[in-house]
Symmetry: C2
Subunit: 309 residues, 2 copies
Amino acid sequence: MKIIREPHEMQQTALTLRDKAIRIGLVPTMGAFHDGHVSLMRRAKHENDVCVVSLFVNPLQFNDPADLERYPRNEAADLEIARSVGVDILFMPSVAAMYPPDAQTFVEVTRVSQPLCGGNRPGHFRGVATVVAKLLMITLPRRVYFGLKDYQQCRVVAQMARDLYFPPDLVFCPTVREADGLAMSSRNVRLSPEERRAASILPRALELAQAQFAAGETNPAAIQARVRDCLLSEPLASIEYVEVVDAQTLEPIADIVQPALVAIAARLGDTRLIDSVVLTPPQSEPEPPASEPLDISDVPHRTTGHHER
Amino acid sequence: MKIIREPHEMQQTALTLRDKAIRIGLVPTMGAFHDGHVSLMRRAKHENDVCVVSLFVNPLQFNDPADLERYPRNEAADLEIARSVGVDILFMPSVAAMYPPDAQTFVEVTRVSQPLCGGNRPGHFRGVATVVAKLLMITLPRRVYFGLKDYQQCRVVAQMARDLYFPPDLVFCPTVREADGLAMSSRNVRLSPEERRAASILPRALELAQAQFAAGETNPAAIQARVRDCLLSEPLASIEYVEVVDAQTLEPIADIVQPALVAIAARLGDTRLIDSVVLTPPQSEPEPPASEPLDISDVPHRTTGHHER
């Protein structure tokens, strides 16, 4: 595994690979690897010629300096995991390299950045869009892999890629969960044993929503109320939001007639956790995708990306 | 000459060319071609395998709807000129294709967008940065050509390209002028004969600044005052701004010890004209660039772009 720390060296390497028609699969990460990351790395390696993993804790997407300070970092373990999975290049730039003193360009995705986490984390998605734009240009991948655990991030990135005509295919991969259903997240290591046990209330609340929807409930407010009640039953959890919104635009809906997102943000002690599930009405299901990658970006974007580069 | 109107068709064509190692030179324009455009097209054709010219009057960079309405358009003449110069592909997207209803991604370059025209044209450079980002991703050029007449635009684009690691080389080309020194601009056709004669006051004022600087004046305020006085001598011209700033950051300077920009914006009747000149102190001159393209982007960016793709 090659470790590259300089963006221009990474870009030069990517250009050289592209000239030889060697396809790069990129997994952008903030490190503190867990099995969710590993599943993305495995898939990137399987579907491309070279697997590049970027590891960069992006200060621009932390609205809260204390949260940035506390964000889990474990470089030694990350290197070990990346090596064992067979990652070809680990791109680990410094903050100074990604944001030199005169850096002043920002990418902003307006509408899908505003609801849900956008309300509680001002500037967060601007930071995400800006760093992902940089990472895509530096690593020039054929495909990029994101975990659907950060659903709104996936939507923001998909919208940016579509609006700016970024060539790579974006591949959004299912959330990987612990045995009790808790979505894997780097932040989980910060939970106390009691909080860790209590945290399973998030997936349980989402399962209730799915069951309710399967039983015929299509009223967003009714589903939202049930999820909220479930979360309130856990005294260690404090709700930041529970929303049922359009899965594409993330805007409020009156009735679930198209795919809807049930999204939760809650705190357990100092740790903020998010989780979500998409409810898809039977009539709105697309053609069975067979073994196609799950992809929530828009059709026009997918269409462009289908040739080989 | 091939005319392409659909962004995805253009991108597909660009990807196919890139796969064959055919290098694209892009000239982004808003049409109403004059000899300044022609010089960029000739250079793009000479230095690359394929010359792509984009013609798109970008509504996002017009802060004033009346200005957008009045902007000169002459598609028939433009086609004729592009053909005669040997342009290979003319990319003419519609507004709806470049900005579909759900488009919501903007690229913002903060510091260099604020002074000069940024103060009088809010949102203008956000529109420029956003459309240039889209055009670069759609046409995937090896080199992109801009005229230095729009000096601040060149700085904004150079900064964006550097910050976001856009791979193409940016080539900034000297302003092409009429016999009386007036900088060529699509807007010049809107001048009445009297206004056209009066407009030569802009280059004459800049020549005064150059002469004053050559004679040893390095005080920005003194040069600014001389330029302003000169412009005031022409009753048909009304000054929007006269500024002497750092040529790289566009920030105010106390003394000209590094390259400085003398920038003018003035109105002749309804028509807004801009012009500028760079004053370079002898000791700050870089190594003689020989036949290298004139390039105001930063060294790190140039360095990345020097290999062949």
